[in-house]
Symmetry: C2
Subunit: 195 residues, 2 copies
Amino acid sequence: MEIEKYQSGQDFIGFVNNLGALEEDVAAMLSRQLETLYCKKGEAILVQGATCRYLYYINSGLVKTGFESSDRTFIMRFFAEGEMFTVLDSYLSQKPSTYEVVALEDTVITRILRTEMDKLCTRFHAMETFFRKLVSMASVNMMSRIGEILEEQASARYENFLKENPELLQRISLGDLASYLGITQVSLSRIRAGL
Amino acid sequence: MEIEKYQSGQDFIGFVNNLGALEEDVAAMLSRQLETLYCKKGEAILVQGATCRYLYYINSGLVKTGFESSDRTFIMRFFAEGEMFTVLDSYLSQKPSTYEVVALEDTVITRILRTEMDKLCTRFHAMETFFRKLVSMASVNMMSRIGEILEEQASARYENFLKENPELLQRISLGDLASYLGITQVSLSRIRAGL
DNA sequence: ATAGTTTTTTATCTTTTGATAAATTTTCGA
DNA sequence: TCGAAAATTTATCAAAAGATAAAAAACTAT
């Protein structure tokens, strides 16, 4: 995992601007705090037990966020290029994370330290607004995920995933998809066979 | 459902101050926008298909937020006195809600219009910070709920609920608890019987 | 290309949960 | 207090998903 400081982070900035335009000087200050990460496929970006100190933006590649339970593992969400993510509870509490983040492909990431993000949010209302919108979007996604898990059987959740994320299906293993759906890999295989 | 305008809304203000102190004049402006709602047990505070225009604070009582599916119903969360809530997706998008909110007891609520909240957030950085923290807390709760539903069987989720919310158990029906756990009332009865 | 590893499928059997119906208990209003 | 309605439990059978093992297919590195 290579780290490069002082990258322009244009994609990251663009993402922020998309949720609400920043003034030039704020964008410049933000840009100065970004660094770029080059992760190999399979590499852990955050391990369970570590504290998540960054907000991340994916320039290219794909990651999974999840956790290991007794023996199985579960995936909370996949994030692909153009998406921003963090491990929210650990990021906010600055306590060790029960979740891990692993690259599923060679992945290029731009990140900013939470401490720097906090400074910017305190100083610039627009940054706080951006972060509020970001967390709001995450919440809405999680709401619908909860609703779906409660309501639908695994087979329907699989069908929905196909419909909503056809492009992702080519890029993730069926094992990981099963972990996301909350079933075993064997069960998913059975569902796919249409039994 | 009776509505009373120009209440002081001290509890609501107190909740906000708890997440980050407001200046006197901001608190006063906020206070002016609050109104109080008196709901009877069983009354709908928001029906499916209506748009959620308010952020709510519960002074006393208990509500459930959930949705009706094909035939069963599901509960996203219970909110009791001292908690703030809204139907986030509808509140943010101002589109019809797929979720409903129903009072489980006679409930007194203080609410503020989203349009007024937005004005305050735009005008006062501290209000935006408050709302960001509120949504952040909701997100963290939802994360752990997703993790738990994925990981645990219904029986373990029931045990956890007992441990985490012993006081609520006395106040909600087992049918509603089953809807929250994502199982049928009959299944919950079986789990309680310890089979 | 091929041997070895990993991923996916198939098969069998068990456990959990759902559907349905009926019995029992509780709640609540007249 | 009584009786109807609602909530909860119990029982039976069916469907969905887990555990395990083994076979087949797909990837990978030499």
